[in-house]
C-alpha cells in the first residue's frame, strides 16, 4: 500500500479511533513491566491492515512493500503518542515480513482477510545480530525438510503471543543464512529486558530440540541487502516514534511547568526550565527532519541516530523539569525516558549504525 495524500488523514483517523477504543487497555499496557497486548487488540491491528503481509512473492525479493515506509511512519508515530511499545511491535512485524517470503507469511496465507494476527506474530532481533560473525544458531542440514537448529536466540522483539521467529544462523557448510522458525505449542521464552518499551517484549531463549521447526531457510541471496532494506523500511517509523516521545515529553513538561510555582512564579518562566524545554523542542525538530530524510532513497541511518539521541535528551530533560515528581512512576515521564533509552539501542550500536 503506497501513501497518497488522501490516505494520510485516513491513516491518522484510523489510529486515533483505535487508540480511543483501546485507551484503557493501553494505559495498563504501558504501566506494567510484564504487560502484553491482548489478543483482541492485536487482532484488531491485523484487521485494520497494519500488520505486515510479507514482501517477497514467490520467493523473489519485491520492491513493493505492503506498507510504504512513509505510511508506516505515520501509523507508528501516531500510535507512539499513546503507546511507543505497541508502535515498536508493529515495526517488528514489518521488519520480519521483509525478511521472509510470502509463502511463509504470518498473515493471509491463502489470500483471505486477515486471520487472527495474535496467533501468527513474529519475534525478531531488529539489530545487526541477524548477520553477526558468529550466529547464535546453527542449522543441522541444508535440506529444509530435515533441518533443525540449535543455539540461543537473543533480544528478539515481539509480542508475547508470537509463534514465529526470524533469526540469523550458520549453515553446515559455514555460510550465513536467515531462518524462519515455527514454535511448538506451549514453548515459552524469557523476557530479557525490562528497561523500556515494556509491551514490546524483548526475548531470549536457548532452543531445545523439538521446541521449533524450520519453516524456511533464506540463503543464496544478498542477506545484508535484505536486512538493510528491512531496517530502512522501519527507520522513518523509528524516527516517528522518537518524535512522538519528544512531543509527549514537551506536553508533560509544559503542563507541569505552567502550574508548578517556585520563587513566586511558574517554573516555565525560569531560564533553566526554558532551556530544558528548548532541548525537548529541538528533539522534535530533529526527529521530524530525520523522518523526512530517512524516507528518501539512499538515506543514511545516521539521521535516525540523531533522532533517537534527541528523544533520549528530550525525555531526560522532561524528568529534570518535573524534578523528584518526574522520577516517580505515575508522572509518565520516567516511562518516556525508559522507552527512549530502549529505543536508542534497538537497532544495535548507535556509533556503527551508519
Amino acid at each position: 500500500m503506497k501513501l497518497t495524500p488522501s490516505l494520510l488523514p485516513l491513516a491518522r483517523d484510523s489510529v486515533r479511533g483505535f487508540l480511543q477504543a483501546f485507551s484503557a487497555e493501553l494505559v495498563s499496557y504501558e504501566s506494567s513491566p510484564l504487560s502484553s497486548p491482548s489478543e483482541v487488540l492485536w487482532n484488531e491491528m491485523g484487521e485494520l491492515g497494519w500488520c505486515a503481509e510479507g514482501t517477497a512473492p514467490g520467493g523473489q525479493e519485491s520492491s513493493e512493500p505492503d506498507l510504504d515506509a512513509t505510511l508506516l511512519a505515520v501509523l507508528a508515530g501516531t500510535l507512539a503518542t499513546s503507546s511507543p511499545a505497541l508502535a515498536s511491535l508493529l515495526l517488528s512485524q514489518h521488519f520480519a515480513a521483509r525478511l521472509v517470503t510470502r509463502d511463509s507469511s504470518p498473515l493471509r496465507e491463502d489470500g483471505s482477510p486477515a486471520p487472527a494476527a495474535a496467533q501468527q506474530s513474529f519475534a525478531v532481533p531488529l539489530y545487526s545480530n541477524l548477520l553477526a560473525d558468529e550466529p547464535e544458531l546453527s542449522l543441522s542440514s541444508l535440506d529444509q525438510a530435515d533441518a533443525s537448529v540449535q543455539g540461543t536466540v537473543s533480544y528478539l522483539v515481539g509480542p508475547p503471543c508470537f509463534s514465529r521467529v526470524v533469526a540469523g544462523a550458520r549453515r553446515p557448510d559455514g555460510e550465513r543464512c536467515l531462518v524462519e522458525l515455527q514454535l511448538a505449542p506451549g514453548v515459552s521464552f524469557q523476557r530479557c529486558s525490562l528497561l523500556g518499551l515494556w509491551g514490546a517484549s524483548c526475548w531470549n531463549q536457548q532452543l531445545a530440540p523439538g521446541q521449533v521447526t524450520v519453516r524456511q531457510v533464506i540463503s543464496g541471496v544478498d542477506l545484508e541487502g535484505r536486512v538493510q532494506a528491512a531496517q530502512k523500511l522501519i527507520a522513518p517509523a523509528l524516527a516517528a516514534i522518537a518524535e512522538g516521545l519528544a512531543q509527549t515529553a514537551v506536553a508533560r513538561s509544559l503542563s507541569y511547568a505552567e502550574l508548578r510555582i517556585q520563587g513566586g512564579q511558574p517554573i516555565v518562566l525560569h531560564p533553566a526550565v526554558a532551556t530544558l524545554l528548548e532541548t525537548e523542542r529541538r528533539a522534535i525538530r530533529t526527529a521530524q527532519a530525520a523522518r523526512s530524510s530517512l524516507a528518501q532513497a539512499g538515506a543514511s541511518l545516521g539521521a535516525l541516530t540523531d533522532a533517537l539521541e534527541g528523544a533520549c535528551e528530550a525525555t531526560s530533560a522532561a524528568i529534570q523539569v518535573l524534578g523528584g515528581a518526574g522520577y516517580m512512576r505515575g508522572a509518565d515521564v520516567e516511562r518516556l525516558y525508559r522507552d527512549a533509552q530502549q529505543l536508542r539501542l534497538v537497532l544495535g550500536r548507535p556509533g556503527l549504525r551508519s
Binding site: 539489530y127 517556585q262 520563587g263 531526560s316 524534578g323 522520577y327 539501542l345
Partner: protein
C-alpha cells in the same frame, strides 16, 4: 589554612585562595588514605554478605513492591559496622573521615547505587544535627546507632525537607521567602505541634527518627525555618505511602503526613534559623557524597563494560581490542577518573572549609584521637557529652566560620555534584554505545545502573538549582568583580 586567615604571606594566600583544594591537599592526608582502605574492606565484606546479584534480584522485587523488606542489607551493614564508620571513636564508632566514608560509598555505588544511598541518606540527618550545633542530640543519636549496630540492628535516620509544593527552593535562602510551605511548626506549651506533608523522604518508612524541616512562621521562613527530631512512633506522624521509583529502589522514598504532631522543645535542633549557613554547610557536604555516588556509577560502568567487551567480538576481533571498543573504554575510564578527582576535590575542600572542618576542630574529634580503641565500649557511658551545655560552644564554632569559607565549601560540593551526575549518565550512555542492545539486558545490571543514575541530577537540589548556587557562591570568591 582558611581563605580569611590574616597571617599568610600575600603570595601564599593568593595561591591558596585561588586553589583551595591544593591548599588542603598540601598538608598531606596519610591517615585519611589508611582510613579509606579500611572503609573499602568494610564494603567488600558487606558485599560478601549481600552480593551484587542479590541486590539486583532485590531491585526487581522492589519494583513490584517498594515496601519489600531490606532486612538483609540493613543487617549486613550493621554486622560490618557500616553505620558507625564516621561516628567518633569516643562514642563507639570507627571515627573515619568524610573522605573515607565517601570513598566507601563510591565503592558501594559502583555495585549498587540504591544501596549506597540507603546507607548515606541516614548520614544526611546526622549532618543536619551537626550543622545546627545540637551536640547533645547528636551524641545521643550516635550512641543509639552504635548500640543497635552492636546488636546487629540498624537505627536509621531520615530527613524530611521536600513538600508537595516546595522542593529545591527549600534549600536556597534566597528562594525560601517565596517557597510555598504547607508544613508548619506551631509553638505550644512544652514544645511544638507540626502539621503538614513531606514527600520524597529517603528511608522515610524505615527510619526510627526523622529530622523534619519546617518554619515556625511560614510568612517568615528565612528567620524561622527549624529542624525537629521526630520519632517514627510519634502518633502524629503517619507514613502516607512509599513511592514507586524509577531507580535507586533499595533506598525507598516515602511520604509522611503530620497531624498535630507534638514534639518537645528538646527535640528542636538548635534555636538559630536553619536557613542560610546551616543548610549551606549540610548541602556542601552532602553534595560531595552525591558526587562520590556519580564516581561510583562511572567506575562501575567502566568495570562492567571492560569485562563485557573482553567477552564479545566485533568483526571477528575481541571488542576491547578493536579501535571502536578501545576508544569507548578509554572515555569510560576517563569519566571515572574525572569523577573521582571531582569529588575528592570537593570533599577535601569541605574538610578544610565546610561542615566536616567542624569535626576536625570540635572537642569530639580531638577527644576521639585521645581515646584508645579499647575504651570505646566504656565511652558509651560518657554521659557528660549529652549535656545541652555543649551546644552553645558548638554553635559558636559554626557561627565563627567565615561566610566566604562556607561559600567555598558549598560551591565545590554543588559543582562536583553537577559534574559527576552528568559524567555518571554519560558513562551509562557510553556502555550502550559499546555493547548495543546487550546493555538493555536486565541480567547484566546495566539498565539498573542507568535507572539509578538518573536520580543523581535531581536530588540534593536539581542540577539547575545547584548551578545557580555555584554562580551565587563563587561571586564571593576573591578576585571576582562585585
Amino acid at each position: 589554612m582558611s581563605p580569611t586567615e590574616p597571617d599568610a604571606s600575600r603570595s601564599d594566600a593568593a595561591f591558596r585562595l585561588e586553589h583551595p583544594s591544593l591548599a588542603a591537599l598540601a598538608q598531606g592526608f596519610p591517615r585519611e588514605v589508611a582510613e579509606a582502605q579500611r572503609a573499602e574492606k568494610v564494603v567488600a565484606r558487606l558485599l560478601e554478605r549481600v552480593s551484587p546479584e542479590q541486590l539486583l534480584a532485590l531491585d526487581r522485587e522492589l519494583q513490584q513492591n517498594p515496601r519489600t523488606s531490606l532486612a538483609a542489607v540493613l543487617t549486613a551493614a550493621s554486622t560490618e559496622g557500616f553505620w558507625s564508620l564516621a561516628i567518633p571513636r569516643g562514642l563507639g564508632g570507627s571515627g573515619l573521615s568524610m573522605f573515607a566514608l565517601n570513598f566507601a560509598l563510591e565503592q558501594l555505588a559502583s555495585h549498587c547505587l540504591g544501596t549506597a544511598n540507603l546507607l548515606a541518606a541516614h548520614g544526611l540527618a546526622l549532618a543536619v544535627v551537626g550543622a545546627t550545633g545540637s551536640l547533645g542530640q547528636g551524641v545521643q543519636l550516635c550512641q543509639r546507632i552504635v548500640a543497635d549496630e552492636r546488636r546487629g540492628q540498624a537505627y536509621l535516620l531520615a530527613t524530611a525537607a521536600t513538600e508537595p509544593d516546595a522542593g529545591s527552593d527549600v534549600e536556597d535562602v534566597d528562594e525560601l521567602p517565596k517557597a510555598r510551605f504547607k508544613t508548619v511548626a506551631k509553638a505550644c506549651s512544652g514544645g511544638f505541634r507540626l502539621t503538614g506533608r513531606k514527600t520524597f523522604i529517603s528511608n522515610g518508612h524505615l527510619a526510627a527518627q526523622i529530622v523534619v524541616v519546617a518554619p515556625l512562621d511560614p510568612k517568615h521562613p528565612v528567620e524561622t525555618l527549624s529542624a525537629f527530631l521526630v520519632s517514627a512512633d510519634n502518633p502524629g506522624l503517619q507514613i502516607s505511602h512509599v513511592e514507586h521509583k524509577l531507580g535507586q529502589r533499595a533506598c525507598p522514598a516515602a511520604e509522611i503526613a503530620l497531624h498535630d504532631c507534638f514534639v518537645s522543645s528538646e527535640q528542636r535542633l538548635g534555636t538559630a534559623p536553619l536557613a542560610g549557613r546551616a543548610l549551606d554547610l549540610v548541602l556542601g557536604a552532602s553534595r560531595c557524597t552525591v558526587a562520590a555516588f556519580g564516581a561510583g556509577v562511572a567506575f562501575g560502568a567502566y568495570r562492567d563494560a571492560r569485562l563485557a567487551a573482553s567477552q564479545r567480538t566485533l568483526a571477528g576481533v575481541r571488542l576491547d581490542e578493536t579501535p571502536f571498543g578501545g576508544a569507548l573504554l578509554a572515555r569510560l575510564y576517563d569519566n571515572a577518573r574525572l569523577a573521582r578527582a571531582s569529588w575528592l576535590d570537593a570533599t577535601f575542600v569541605n574538610a578544610k572549609f565546610g561542615l566536616t572542618s567542624l569535626m576536625e576542630i570540635a572537642a569530639l574529634r580531638q577527644l576521639d584521637r585521645l581515646v584508645p580503641t579499647a575504651w570505646t565500649s566504656r565511652s558509651l557511658s560518657l554521659k557528660w557529652l549529652e549535656t545541652p551545655l555543649l551546644d552553645a560552644p558548638a554553635r559558636r564554632s559554626i557561627d565563627q566560620l567565615p561566610t566566604r569559607d562556607i561559600a567555598v565549601a558549598s560551591a565545590h560540593g554543588a559543582a562536583a555534584k553537577i559534574r559527576n551526575s552528568e559524567l555518571a549518565l554519560d558513562s551509562c550512555r557510553l556502555v550502550g554505545d559499546l555493547l548495543g542492545v546487550v546493555a538493555t539486558d536486565e541480567a547484566s545490571g546495566l539498565p539498573k545502573r542507568l535507572r539509578d543514575a538518573r536520580l543523581l541530577p535531581i536530588y540534593e537540589g536539581t542540577n539547575e538549582i545547584n548551578a545557580l548556587d555555584v554562580a551565587k557562591k563563587t561571586r564571593l570568591f576573591p578576585g571576582v568583580p562585585r
